[in-house]
């Protein structure tokens, strides 16, 4: 194997078996680097100006006591905003809630999503139709999702809430108005919204499994459960972790549903990091504090992503590496 062959293999399976690809590295595509450079540059510059620059400003503001209503009093406070964030009981509660929401929600979605994906594995017209309809929750405006469940669970006229109240199940003011249940309702809503998408991603993973290995396991007389835990699951670990990465990051940034259904209440029961950051930044114009919260969220997300990416790499290496 030449060096370029190996490079082509490690960059992606795309060009396996195509000798032209290996030649291309030194041929047309190698020589016309400038062309590719100018194709990529506008997007990179745009994202830097409109995305990276505001983010960097946010990072900078987080070290200042900066309130838009009193811009003249702006002064450097070092890490005070960060210290205050962890000292404030509401914000601490929000951090705990956000983690609980993310971990419980994504775990439930993974299990349910995997079950649905296994049921949808066979590629026939029935399954394709079911999948199309199952995905509807993921396409609905998140704001409307919040409104639907707020309406359904209302204790006076809501279709679910009324009967719960009538039969004495659940708290009096409705599930969303009780500190003990509100966060769980939000987790259920998130599962309703995103389990189908999780199933879709896992289904793609299932469909890319090597059929010969599956056939061999079947021929060996392994039971369904044995095949699932010893053959299917280990082989699809990379796509499980990738699905986890995507969903974890989205769940951690949850804003829309709590914003319309509970607004963070009752008390601080459903306060999330994004809710507090938006409230502080755009209602109280407390730019420094809000930026610090945003950065703490980015940090948490980066840590979780790093752990999951590490897990993907290891799973990938165990399966593909000899």
């Amino acid at each position: 194997m030449t060096e370029t062959d190996i490079a082509a293999h490690t960059v992606g399976r795309r060009s396996a078996g195509s000798p032209a690809a290996a030649r291309g590295d030194r041929g047309f595509f190698g020589r016309q680097r400038y062309f590719l450079f100018f194709m990529a540059v506008p997007a990179v510059i745009y994202v830097i100006i409109v995305g990276v620059w505001p983010l960097a400003q946010g990072a900078w503001y987080s070290f200042f006591d900066y309130n838009l209503q009193k811009p003249k009093r702006t002064h450097f406070v070092g890490l005070d905003n960060y210290v205050n964030a962890f000292a404030d009981s509401t914000t601490r509660q929000a951090i705990v809630n956000t983690f609980e929401f993310t971990i419980v929600g994504v775990a439930v979605q993974l299990v349910l999503g995997l079950l649905i994906a296994l049921m949808l594995w066979r590629d026939d017209r029935f399954n394709r139709t079911i999948l199309a309809f199952l995905l509807i929750p993921a396409t609905i405006t998140p704001l409307v999702v919040g409104l639907i469940f707020k309406g359904l669970l209302g204790p006076d006229y809501g279709f679910i809430g009324y009967y719960l109240a009538e039969w004495g199940l659940g708290p009096k003011g409705g599930l969303l108005a009780d500190g003990g249940t509100a966060l769980w309702v939000l987790i259920v809503v998130d599962c309703w919204e995103w389990t189908p998408l999780m199933a879709l991603i896992l289904l793609a993973g299932l469909k890319s499994l090597p059929t010969d290995v599956l056939e061999a396991a079947r021929a060996d007389g392994a039971t369904v459960l044995q095949r699932f835990f010893w053959v299917i699951l280990p082989l699809m670990l990379p796509s499980v972790f990738l699905a986890l990465i995507l969903r974890t990051m989205d769940a951690f940034r949850v804003f829309d549903t709590p914003f319309v259904t509970t607004g963070g209440g009752p008390g601080d029961a459903t306060q999330t990091m994004m809710l507090i950051a938006v409230k502080q930044g755009l209602q109280f114009f407390n730019v420094g504090y809000a930026s610090a919260l945003g950065n703490i969220a980015i940090l948490f997300i980066a840590i979780m992503a790093a752990i999951l990416i590490f897990a993907v790499r290891r799973a990938d290496a165990r399966i593909n590496g000899k």
Binding site: G24, P42, T141, L200, G205, L242, I301
Partner: protein, 273 residues
Amino acid sequence: MSSLALKHNIARRTALLVITILFLLPVAWLISTAWKSSDDIFSIPPGLLFNPSLTQFNSVFAYFDVWSLLRSSVIISAGTVVLSLLLGIPAGYALARSTSKAAIGFAYFFLAIRMVPAVAALIPFYLMMRDLGLLGTWWSVVIINTMLNTAFVTWMMFSYFRAMPRDLEEAAMTDGCTQLGSFFKVAIPSARSGIIASVLFCVMFSWNDFLYPMFLTRLDTKPLSVALLTAYGTKDITWGTLGALAHFSTIPIVLMALFLNRYFVQGATAGVH
């Protein structure tokens, strides 16, 4: 054996049907609310049966300038789609075809931008728009949406083009096509399904988002999503009216996703495999 397999199949399909119905019930409830008269909505106990009525839709048109809201949503989505594709497709292509190590790094840079929480950039961006005098215009929303979606489109097209063999493009260039020519005549047509998936996801994102337009638009430039939010909690607006207004904001997207389901599936799993 085969009768066992048949039973198995029937059980599986029944389970799937039940799951799907469970997932769709909340949506059915929303739709039914909008077609009920106000008496039916507030009937005690809440029932499933009702006489269809247009009351709620009448009050939507009485309380909201629906056409102006729709216009804003369409303009914001269309602007975002056009700009994001113009920036994202060439970038995705370049990163996929480049052999330099930095290309993969840039691809991950775009992916990372997608993962950043919206608020972290929103406040500085808000100040930036204020200084430029763009606050309250459609442009401000289009500009920030384009940033987030360009990152997404670039990543998606990167994984599409990466999975495509280069042979055809090379052949076209051997036949005297320029590199730009082979991009337009060979690469873009073969990546059609990736482009459709990109459009679908950009529209979904910009049509459904309300955090940015909530702070960046004015009364006459606000889209449907923001109107829904402000309507909610207003005294005169009932659940039925909200449900009817929600029709306008959800049905176009749901229909689009159903008709383009194949591309939805490809888009949602792009970059995963």
